[in-house]
Subunit: 95 residues, 5 copies
C-alpha cells in the first residue's frame, strides 16, 4: 500500500454503472517522511476519507476487494486513514 494525502475530487456523470455511488478522490502519494513522491492519481474511497487527510491506498486487483461482491472497476482505493506512523531512524540508516 502507499501513503497519500487527499487533495481533490473528480465529478463524473458518464461512467461505468458499477462506479455509481462511489466518490472519486485525487490523492498525492507521499513518503513516510511526508514528501511528495510520484504522480497524483484518482482513487475510489472505501473508508470515507476527507480532504487533506493522510491515508493509505491499495493498488491493483485488490483495490476492488472492499466493494465485493460488486466488481467495481477501480485500480486504486483508499483502504484506511492513518492515525499515526513511526519510522525507526536507526534501522533506517543501517539499511
Amino acid at each position: 500500500m502507499f501513503l497519500a494525502r487527499v487533495i481533490g475530487r473528480v465529478w463524473s456523470t458518464a461512467k461505468d454503472p458499477k462506479l455509481e455511488g462511489h466518490r472519486l478522490l485525487i490523492v498525492q502519494p507521499l513518503t513516510p517522511e511526508g514528501k511528495q513522491t510520484g504522480k497524483r492519481i484518482v482513487v475510489a474511497d472505501s473508508v470515507g476519507a476527507g480532504a487533506g487527510e493522510l491515508v493509505y491506498c491499495c493498488r491493483g486487483r485488490e483495490s476492488s476487494f472492499p466493494f465485493l461482491p460488486q466488481e467495481v472497476p477501480t485500480d486504486a482505493t483508499i483502504v484506511g486513514i492513518v492515525d499515526e506512523l513511526h519510522v525507526d531512524r536507526t534501522k533506517n540508516e543501517r539499511c
Copy 2:
C-alpha cells in the same frame, strides 16, 4: 485510476475474438493540472468517449470488469468521462 485525454484511435482486423466490437482509443495520460505525464497507451472504451474528451482510465485486471461476464483481454479501459475536477491548492502545498 489515471486522468487522460483521448487523442487517437487504432483500427485492427486480426485480433483476439473477445476484442471484437470494442473501440480502441489512444490516450495521453494527464496530471490533475492538465500536464502530459507518462506514455500514450491504447485503451478500450466502456463509456463512449469521444476524441478530445477528458476521461479517467482504469488499469490492470479491473479494466476488464466493465465487460463482464465477457473476459476481454484489455489492461486499460476508459471507465468515466470527467465533468469537473477540483484540486485543493492549500492541501496541495501542505503536503
Copy 3:
C-alpha cells in the same frame, strides 16, 4: 495495451507445460508516433503475428485471457495486429 513491433523470437525446451505450443516473440514497445519506448520484452502470441509487424499487446492477468480456459503463465500477449492508427495532432497539442 501498448503498441510494439515484433523484432525477435525465443526458443525454449524446458518450460512450464502450459506454455507448450505457444510461440514466444520479442517485441520493442513503440509510441503511437513509432518511436522506441521502454524495454524489449518476451510476449506470447494469440493472433499469429509475424516478424516486423506492428501489434498491440496486453499486460498482466488479462494477457492470459486469449488462452482461456487454459491458465497460461504469460504476463504479456499480442492481442491484435494494427491495420492503421490515427493521432489527432490538434487534440494532442491542446493537452
Copy 4:
C-alpha cells in the same frame, strides 16, 4: 518478490474491515547487496516480522493469498524472513 528491511509501522483505526487485525509495517526495498532501492511502502505481514528484519515481500494480487479465504485488500505483503542469501559474483559479472 523483492527484498526489504522493516523500518516502521502504521496505526489506523478507520480502515477497511478486512484489514482488521493485520499489522501494517513500513519497509525499505533493498538490493541483494543491501542497498536501498525504490520507495518505502506500507505492507501487510503474514509471518510476524519484527522491526529491522530482512524480509521478502510479494506484490499484487498474490499478496493477498496468505490470508485466503479472506479477501484482504493488500497489494504488498511480507511472505518470508530471510535467513541467508547468496549472490554469485562470477555469474553476476558475466551477465
Copy 5:
C-alpha cells in the same frame, strides 16, 4: 515475460506455508542483447533452473499459475529456460 540470468539464492525458514518446498532464486533481468536492465528480484522457480542459466520469468498473478491448484504467494516465477533467441537487426533499426 522478461529475460534474466540466475545469479543467487535466498534461504528462509519463517515463510508463508504455501511457499514451503519452493526454491527462491535471485535473478538479474537482461535485455535480449544480454545487458543488465532493472532491479534484481527474488523469484520462484517452476522449471528447475540452475545458477547462471538464462531464463524467462513471468510477473504478476500469472506467475502463480505453474503451481495451481496451490495458490502460491509469488509475484515472479521462472517459467522457462532459454535454448536460443534471435533478434532481427533490420526490423530492430526500422522501429
